[in-house]
């Protein structure tokens, strides 16, 4: 008796999770340091920045779009927050402004895409370059440091209950929010509808322009949040920070099984995808594999995962 289509689909959805578990088990055997509580939280903290960006990226990819500007938005937000704090403003206000600025930059992406009818790849590619330039202009090309706020330091380096790093908590909270919004709200349903068949969505009364603008706004805000965490971790804002982060985020989303064609995917997959990348990095480090080989391994894993995914569909 062959498997039913539903079983197959369920198995396919769990594929990334099985891969993550398999890699973890393998690493636990190969390195005794891997499966300790402290190392586990370390991995998750390293993953958190990419995961937070990737949650936002999941939305734009669900629409059948992409957001290449997240790395640059991260840098601009980071520089803005740093400038405000060194300029004597409070950390809470600085963080709020950084995230609002990220949202504003994202909404600009959304407007260009929805109202200007520009392909998301091109629109966000332009924005990526433009904003990188702005970050360098604002920071005058050099890092900004010297923050005195305890609250700000906690965001990247603090612990909840002396055990769980704050960035990990932020990541899990964001995960829960995205899970709820995508699965249970009208907005989430409209994101899937627009990505699955924009024409049908429009004819069914979905305001697809608004959906697109909101999605890129959220993506920008998430990049800014990642920027805040990174700035706090480094205790310094770098105008060159975040370069290439868009590719890590896209990798996490795709590894998690979200279709680049839009309309299909889930946020849990993205979390798993981000963790899988982080675990590989960590494991290869623990085993003392050279940085050059690490890239070869990571690239191979990505290709393998995507090929398996395709194989399941045909």
């Amino acid at each position: 008796m062959s498997m039913t289509a539903q079983h197959k689909a369920a198995l396919q959805r769990l594929g990334p999770l099985l891969a993550l578990v398999a890699v973890c088990i393998a690493l636990a055997f190969m390195s005794p340091d891997f499966l300790t509580v402290s190392n586990s939280f370390d991995v998750m903290r390293q993953v958190s920045i990419n995961a937070v960006i990737a949650f936002g990226m999941t939305l734009s990819i669900l629409l059948g779009g992409i957001d290449l500007s997240v790395g640059s938005i991260l840098a601009v937000s980071s520089v803005l927050a740093a400038m405000m704090m060194t300029g004597g403003h409070g950390a809470v206000l600085a963080v709020a402004v950084a995230i609002l600025a990220g949202a504003a930059m994202g909404s600009l992406n959304g407007v260009v895409i929805a109202k200007g009818k520009v392909a998301p790849f091109i629109a966000t590619l332009g924005m990526m370059t433009l904003l990188r330039g702005l970050a360098l202009v604002f920071a005058n090309g050099s890092p900004i440091s010297g923050f005195s706020s305890n609250f700000f330091a906690t965001l990247g380096d603090g612990y909840v209950a002396r055990l769980i790093p704050v960035p990990v908590v932020l990541m899990l909270v964001m995960f829960a929010v995205f899970w709820f919004v995508l699965g249970r709200t009208v907005f989430g349903r409209h994101v899937y509808a627009t990505g699955g068949n924009a024409e049908a969505a429009k004819l069914s009364g979905v305001n697809i322009d608004r959906v697109q603008i909101l999605v890129y706004t959220v993506s920008g805000a998430m990049a800014a949040l990642a920027g805040v965490i990174l700035t706090s971790r480094l205790d310094s804002a770098q105008p060159t920070a975040g370069a290439g982060y868009e590719l890590d985020a896209i990798t996490a989303v795709v590894l998690g099984g979200t279709s680049l064609a839009g309309g299909r995917g889930w946020i849990f997959g993205t979390l798993v995808g981000a963790l899988l990348i982080g675990v590989l990095n960590n494991g290869l480090n623990l085993m003392g594999v050279s940085a050059f080989y690490q890239q070869v391994v990571k690239g191979s894993v990505i290709l393998l995962a995507v090929l398996l995914d395709r194989g399941g569909k045909s």
Partner: protein, 492 residues
């Protein structure tokens, strides 16, 4: 073809099916959606391999493992979705994959000449072989496909729903070509849902039902009712169920409506409970009227009144808010999110009704979907099934269901029974009747004249973007409608 069997997974799609086609004969293959017609033809043309049974050509067993092998044996298929590459020229399409060449360099001169010869054989000599394929009308593209089939010296030509997107005139041309091919000894397998055509062009008809061969008849010795009975396995009580509705007040009034150049000076009104049919040739602007009313095309002049109040519709959202629904002709492209379940598609339009503060109440949603599925007789094992796994008729019922969560004041229908089999059509007609009885005003565009005549109260005929006439459906006939549609707007 003898004793053909084919299963997909555990599902047996064809069970011991026989099918014979003689040279110089046009043979209709009919059956409801899912009866196995397409699978049978895909086996004959080499796209699928049969699990059992065999194909005999001139009494000799033939092994067909690929489309190439089928073509070599003189069997060609023309799919419903034409297989032309839009950016290539007509002759590039004709010779795709077997271009006359010397060491890889195409001999364009020879290709051009041969293309001309082939095109003139199918009465399309006016087509320049260098023209890009996408610049041809669907009708001409179809002739090019036939020309391509002839270039293989096809002895058996399979045509899958060839008339689905042709105008009446193009259909007439196609039939002439088909008769010509027949007189030259080609056997044609004709797959179609359109019963009228079957009786006007075919010699024989074979019927499939649920993967079984039901029987073969001479067209001259059978009739509509017998064929339908063979197809659905029971007697279809009424092809067009009757409706007795007393009309209410004027619901929708359209005055001097024009869009950006496709339609102009459209005037009509529809009462509550009334069905206004819109007939005309393809391209006459029938769908444009609906698009303009729904906010897809821009209204340039004129007034639209809903229940006496001036309506300003700029986007579909405005139309929906006013109580207008639209079942478009392109079910897969515009009606459904195909990857989605029946449930998600059903509630897409009125999701807000089942949510509070933007959060969807799944219990309310599930209950509403269950109710709508029962009301419209959507046959799906459960609401979580992907909508694309349903038959055409059931897919269409889901599109209707989208609009019925809140009964619309006006429902616009564009080819509501396209790609729906005979049994499904009757059910769609029932839905339309129930809606009318509940007081919805319905505007229905259709290319099937018997359908327009039977289902409408009044019929508006479009011709070249203008309103040619409005008929009372009780007294009108097909000839009147066709005359009005083709003569254009007289100097009026």
């Amino acid at each position: 073809m003898k004793g053909i069997c084919k299963s997909f997974g555990a599902v047996r799609v064809l069970d011991n099916v026989d099918f014979n086609i003689a040279g110089g004969e046009i043979h209709a293959l009919v059956g409801e959606n899912g009866a196995g017609k397409s699978t049978l033809m895909k086996i004959l043309s080499g796209a699928y391999a049969a699990d059992g049974g065999g194909i005999l050509i001139d009494g000799q067993p033939a092994a067909i493992h690929s489309t190439r092998e089928a073509e070599a044996l003189g069997i060609a298929i023309i799919h419903q979705e034409l297989n032309m590459i839009a950016q290539l020229s007509v002759m590039d399409n004709l010779f795709l994959g077997r271009e006359p060449n010397v060491f890889g360099v195409i001999k364009r001169g020879r290709m051009h000449d041969e293309a001309k010869g082939l095109l003139s054989k199918v009465g399309a000599s006016q087509v320049d072989p260098d023209r890009q394929a996408h610049s041809l009308s669907i009708g001409l593209q179809q002739l090019v496909e036939i020309a391509k089939a002839l270039s293989f010296n096809a002895r058996v030509l399979i045509m899958d729903e060839p008339t689905a997107s042709l105008t009446e005139r193009e259909i007439a041309t196609l039939f002439t070509i088909m008769r010509d091919l027949k007189s030259r000894g080609v056997g044609i397998v004709y797959v179609s849902h359109r019963m009228e055509e079957l009786f006007s062009i075919c010699d024989k008809v074979s019927v499939l039902r649920d993967g079984h061969f039901v029987g073969e008849r001479d067209v001259a010795q059978t009739n509509f009712n017998e064929i339908v009975q063979m197809m659905v396995g029971r007697e279809l009580k009424e092809r067009f169920p009757k409706r007795t509705v007393s009309l209410g007040p004027v619901r929708l009034k359209v005055e001097d409506l024009s869009d950006e150049g496709h339609i102009s000076h459209i005037d009509f009104e529809v009462r509550a409970g009334e069905v206004l049919g819109i007939a005309g040739l393809i391209g006459a602007g029938r769908s444009r009227i609906l698009n303009t009313l729904f906010g897809l095309d821009r209204q340039v002049s004129g007034r639209v009144l809903l229940e006496g109040k001036r309506l300003s519709v700029k986007r579909p959202i405005d139309a929906i808010a006013a109580g207008i629904g639209y079942v478009t002709e392109d079910r897969k492209g515009q009606g459904l999110v195909l990857d989605w379940s029946v449930r998600e598609n059903t509630t897409l339009v009125h999701l807000a009704k089942y949510s509070r503060f933007g959060i969807v109440n799944r219990r309310a949603e599930d209950a509403a979907v269950k109710e709508l599925m029962e009301e419209l007789h959507v046959r799906a094992r459960d609401a979580e099934l992907e909508v694309k796994s349903l038959s055409g008729g059931n897919e269409q019922k889901v599109v209707f269901a989208k609009w019925l969560a809140r009964p619309p004041k006006v429902l616009l229908l564009d080819e509501p029974t396209r790609g729906v089999d005979v049994g499904g059509k009757a059910e769609i007609y029932q839905i339309i009747n129930h809606l009318a009885a509940a007081g919805t005003a319905i505007v229905m565009v259709s290319s099937e004249l018997p359908e327009v005549l039977a289902m409408s109260d009044r019929i508006l005929v479009m011709s070249e973007g203008r309103q040619a006439a409005i008929f009372d459906a009780k007294t009108a006939n097909q000839e009147q409608l066709m005359t009005a549609a083709t003569r254009g707007v007289r100097a009026a």
